[in-house]
């Protein structure tokens, strides 16, 4: 593990949500330019209780409830970032970012470029995303590929509490707009989190399980499903290498290519709709790279169904890759059956 650098502080068990809150508290304490903005993030504590009690500690001037105005609110965050603040803007659900595409895609992502490098927009957009909560089609989507398609944005997807904190602090330190996709099913997940300030670098993937028979590239909750699958495969003698992507844009080409050159087999697992998704990009970059000559099987993808996220729990599970799906395809790849 390369990312959690300089950890000499104590390590506690925190939930993913607590880790994010801790990162925000550190930022608010250490930098007066940091403000939190979003709907119901104040007294209510945020739709997923991520901001929690921060309003009590930092006051309503720095933990600002916005009206239900996603476009306007995102735009205010962009304007504030452009002029010297470092806003962290929370969307209640990543789905609602569709209302603010104008400000995120046309303004935040492009301002530095349009102005020839004379301006910067150090804004962070936090977006609770993903399915599994029974919230159906408009509250369960995975938009990583949407935003990953926009030059000028950086897009991260933490999979653990420690990463959630480290990537959020990295996003805050970044002079450009960063979108943080937080998986809703992970908010309550507990894990070791170092105290104090540290950074998980943006643009760097992590090999979270080494193996030589097949490479599984996954992100967010899919990392955990891939690790479960890898554990079962290991009992059959199949060693899967699991890569936690962490950052969707910019992609960590080197880590992926090095792994595929070793295993010769690639499985991409992602929750967003399969077609034109993150896995499509990873497949293409491997096919274009020197790793091509090391491939010993067609590249495989497991992505979201070509349908909105359904309400019925069985349908909902079927709409996104699950651990047994990953196990099955990884086994076929490893055995040369694909």
């Amino acid at each position: 593990m390369n990312a959690q650098v300089q950890i000499d502080a104590e390590v506690r068990e925190l939930s993913y949500a607590e880790a994010i809150r801790e990162a925000m508290a550190i930022a608010l304490e250490s930098d007066p330019a940091v403000v939190l903005m979003g709907e119901d993030i104040g007294t209510y504590g945020g739709a997923f209780q991520v901001t929690g009690d921060l309003i009590d500690r930092f006051g309503p001037e720095r933990v600002m409830d916005t009206p239900i105005s996603e476009l306007g609110g995102a735009g205010v965050a962009v304007g504030a970032a452009l002029t010297g603040l470092k806003p962290i803007f929370e969307f209640q659900f990543s789905d609602f970012a569709a209302l603010a595409m104008e400000q995120i895609v046309n303004q935040a992502a492009k301002l530095r470029y349009m102005l020839g490098g004379e301006a910067e927009v150090p804004v962070v957009f936090r977006m609770p995303s993903g399915s599994g909560t029974g919230a159906a089609a408009q509250h369960s989507q995975s938009f990583e590929a949407w935003f990953g398609h926009v030059p000028g944005l950086k897009v991260v997807q933490p999979s653990t509490p420690a990463e959630a904190k480290g990537l959020l602090l990295a996003a805050l330190a970044d002079p450009d707009p960063v979108i943080v996709f937080e998986h809703k099913l992970l908010y309550k997940m507990k894990g070791p989190v170092p105290a104090g300030h540290y950074i998980t670098p943006i643009g760097k993937a992590a090999v979270v399980r080494p193996g030589q028979h097949v490479t599984i590239v996954a992100s967010a909750i899919m990392v955990h499903r891939a690790l479960e699958a890898a554990l079962r495969l290991a009992k059959e003698g199949i060693e899967a290498e699991v890569i936690d992507l962490r950052t969707v844009r910019p992609l960590d080409r080197e880590t992926i290519i090095a792994s595929v050159k070793k295993t010769g087999k690639l499985l991409c697992v992602y929750e967003g709709v399969k077609t034109l998704g993150v896995g499509a990009e990873i497949s293409a970059l491997v096919a274009e790279s020197e790793a091509f000559d090391y491939l010993d099987a067609p590249i495989q993808r497991l992505g979201g169904a070509e349908a909105p996220i359904p309400y019925n729990p069985d349908l909902e599970r079927a709409a996104v890759p699950q651990s047994p799906d990953i196990e099955r395809v990884a086994r076929q790849l490893a055995k040369g059956e694909v």
Binding site: D293, L295, G336, V338
Partner: protein, 445 residues
């Protein structure tokens, strides 16, 4: 200083504009803001207003003329200002734009490797290991899905081929075979004659058909522009010469042999008397045909026919016959026309597409050597031209760089001769309307 009136850019993608009409005549007065002239664009007509008040002088563009954006079209002189020479002589000097200096990384050309055993299924790593191990993929049995050769299959094959210590496959164990060349080899390809009849295509229509014989290194496709200009109901019979178009590759001893081969196909396709049209080498062959089968030919039309003098641009013929790419073909094709832009890139591409087969190019080079040894027309048809009696029309471009038009002067007085200005060796492509009109009149008598 008079005020310059320019062709304005009125559309984002506009590079030049066609001046449609002047609303103010030379010497007349005009008020700033009044309509001065109209521009015709492909979208709409646009009115251009006078940029100043005064008298209009030095109109440089007549209605219908196309002018580049930013170029002057006239000048407006203030009342009382002396009208001098047209100031248009001083053109707008373009400032040379130098990009800011930045180190450009060298472009590394991707190595192109020919397909190996294209029908086989093999994974990329299996292909690479086989290549590095000097093994033929065809000799390896694939155990993967649908018989795909996988890494393990190649490793097993290598182990069988090299008993003894286990070979580490990450490194090549045998000298890597030389990559297959993708550039046409310099050494001549020995081509083989093909069986079959010459290719004949027809366009159905009414009346007496017109038989078309194309020139050297061309094919029936080259008649397209003329066909479109001819009456739509004109029946056509097109013949592809040996080793041209879709006809088989054939060896030819000389012009007489070629004419004989053509008579065979002519006898097969011409059911009654026909009108006959040939271009260049095809013109010479048409003339020979008319001489051999006078009763089968109602009228004869010759476009820049071969055989009427010794001179010919042998370099161009060989260049065209030899060219292996659009880039090497295009410059030679340019010699065919009076204007260097007479042949479009698309035309050159289409022409090259028909010439992709190296054997065909080889056969044509051989044919050129037989018919035009040392760049000379080795056959003389002036006697044939004086013998024939059917109505004969000859069309020649005055700017023909391949066959000089003066060779037309060999024709007897009965032959109708048309020398076209600003036209080169391919009048039927450069000015199909005029050629179609002349031929139309000729064959209708």
């Amino acid at each position: 200083m008079p005020t310059e009136v320019i062709m304005p850019k009125v559309d984002m993608d506009m590079a030049s504009g066609k001046l449609a009409v002047w609303h103010v005549a030379e010497g007349e007065t005009v008020k700033k803001g009044a309509a001065l002239f109209d521009i015709e664009t492909d979208k709409a007509a646009m009115e251009v207003e006078a940029p100043a008040t005064g008298r209009l002088h030095h109109i440089l563009a007549a209605p219908g003329e196309t002018v580049d954006v930013g170029r002057p079209v006239a000048f407006i002189y203030a009342e009382g200002e002396a009208v001098g020479q047209s100031p248009a002589a001083a053109p707008v000097t373009a400032v040379e734009e130098k990009p800011a200096a930045v180190a450009v990384p060298p472009v590394v050309a991707a190595q192109v490797i020919g397909p190996d055993s294209a029908d086989l299924r093999a994974t990329p790593v299996a292909r690479r290991l086989a290549r590095e191990g000097g093994l033929e993929l065809a000799s390896i049995t694939g155990t993967g899905p649908r018989g795909r050769i996988q890494r393990a299959d190649v490793e097993a094959a290598v182990a069988r081929a090299k008993p003894g210590p286990v070979v580490e496959l990450a490194r090549p164990v045998v000298e890597v075979p030389k990559p297959v060349a993708v550039v046409a080899p310099a050494a001549p390809i020995t081509w083989e004659a093909q069986p079959g009849d010459l290719n004949v295509t027809t366009r159905k229509g009414s009346g007496v058909p017109l038989v078309l014989i194309h020139g050297f290194a061309a094919d029936s496709y080259g008649w397209r522009p003329l066909e479109e200009a001819l009456p739509k109901d004109q029946a056509l019979i097109r013949i592809d010469l040996p080793s041209h178009g879709r006809s088989p590759l054939r060896r030819v001893d000389g012009f007489a042999d070629l004419a004989k081969q053509l008579v065979q196909v002519f006898d097969r396709v011409a059911e009654g008397p026909v009108h006959l049209l040939g271009h260049s080498l095809g013109g010479g062959l048409a003339l020979a045909l008319a001489d051999i089968r006078p009763r089968q030919v109602k009228t004869l039309s010759l476009i820049a026919p071969a055989g009427l003098g010794p001179e010919i641009d042998g370099a161009a013929l060989n260049g065209i016959a030899r060219a292996g790419s659009v880039d090497s073909l295009a410059p030679w094709l340019k010699r065919l026309t009076a204007r260097p832009d007479g042949i479009s890139h698309d035309f050159a591409k289409a022409a090259m597409l028909a010439r992709l087969d190296p054997a065909l190019r080889e056969a044509q080079q051989e044919l050129a050597a037989v018919l035009f040894p040392d760049g000379v027309q080795a056959f003389d048809l002036t006697a044939a031209l004086s013998r024939i009696a059917m109505p004969t029309l000859m069309i020649w471009g005055r700017d023909d760089h391949i066959l000089p038009w003066r060779q037309a002067l060999a024709a007897p007085g009965e032959v109708a001769l048309h020398l076209l200005r600003s036209v080169g060796h391919v009048p039927h492509i450069e000015d199909p309307e005029t050629v179609a009109a002349l031929i139309g009149r000729h064959i209708r008598g």
